[in-house]
Amino acid sequence: MTGLRYVYAVCRPFGAALQSQLTGVAGAPPKLLSHHGLIAVLSEVPERDFAEGPLKAHLEDLDWLTDTARAHQGVIDALTAVTTPLPLRLGTVFRDDSGVRVMMETREEAFGRTLDRLEGRVEWGVKVYLDTEAAETARPPEKAASGRDYLRQRRMRNRSHEDMWEKAETFARRLHETLSGRAEDFRLHAPQNPTLSGFAGRNVLNAAYLVPRGKSEEFVEAVDRTKDDVPGLRVELTGPWAAYSFTGEMGETQRAEGPEEENA
């Protein structure tokens, strides 16, 4: 039985074994393919799901996408426990091992540079939520006695909204300053939709920080310290992730100055 090769990540050789029960995106266990001092972590996937046509169709299917994304992340997570992987985007598929080798050879230098830069670092995700509902219900609207009262109340509501936003922005900016001072690099991501994330409140900061493992504890403590600073604001920490947000060759500062600012 031959299948296609789904590649999860590239990394340097590592001594430790992966979890024995680990399965990849199509249920097969991930394997290591060694080439010129680099390792590609891949698993066999069936053509019926991962050939061009079916893969395209699957990518439109949110359930399939969810399962595949979780399996992909599972493998990356297992790798992160034993080494520093360079995670590839979901759906990187080759015909056979030799296709993977060719790709590794072509990109050898760039892989080396990026792996050096990321070595021993992990990514921490920090999000700040503005709990709009709690702030609203804390002060129930009084019944307007007249048109004037009504307008006054409305103006006060708007003002308190603005105050809340301002508070949230100030808080997020300060938090980001503190955390970026403790990180080697950062990325500011688009805020998440609360319906999908399943968290109440509006996402006002969605950032990723690249932090050496050895300094992660301090970083986590710094986040924890801010947690209850401002009522109505919630800080959420996720990680340690593989350095997904830092796989590009450019750092944040270079990127910000670059002419091709990302906009989608």
Binding site: L55, A81, N193, G198, R213, T247
Partner: protein, 147 residues
């Protein structure tokens, strides 16, 4: 330089309980892009990225999925804000009309709901004062709407 396993700090909010948006965001939208043999060509990946942005960060796709919470939120939707202002203006007009007709304004407001309630009618001078006040407020509001 390698790090021994187990050095990583305890995971926060990851693993089985990890937020789907977080995982999708990273696995689909971040991570290194390499063209494999199986070409989801770059255009498709871009489209996927855009779709993900829409899923994760809202708008059209979410609408297709029946997620439309922002449409009725005046903080996010200018349409909702306009509608809110229109509704308020209509209410104010009803009050104003009531004052001009010498009816209690609560009656005018309740009219639409099919109920009336008696309330002592206002003195002539007081009525005029309140009418002017309301007119002023409506003007303000209309200006606000324009900006």
């Amino acid at each position: 330089m390698t790090f021994p396993p187990g050095r990583a700090p305890e995971p926060y909010g990851q693993g089985g309980s990890a937020n789907l948006a977080d995982i999708l965001e990273r696995v689909l939208d971040k991570g290194l892009v390499i063209a494999g043999d199986i070409r989801i060509n770059l255009l498709d990946i871009e489209l996927l990225t855009i779709k993900l942005r829409l899923i994760v960060a809202s708008v059209d796709k979410a609408k297709e999925m029946g997620i439309d919470w922002w449409e009725t939120d005046p903080m996010l939707s200018s349409k909702a804000r306009r509608e809110e202002l229109n509704r308020e203006n209509a209410e104010l007009r009803a009050r104003l009309a009531a004052i001009e007709e010498g009816r209690p304004e609560s009656e005018a407001l309740l009219e639409g709901r099919g109920r009336t309630r008696a309330e002592p009618s206002l003195e002539q001078g007081e009525r005029r004062r309140r009418r002017e006040e309301l007119e002023e407020q409506m003007e303000q509001q209309e200006q606000e709407e324009e900006t």
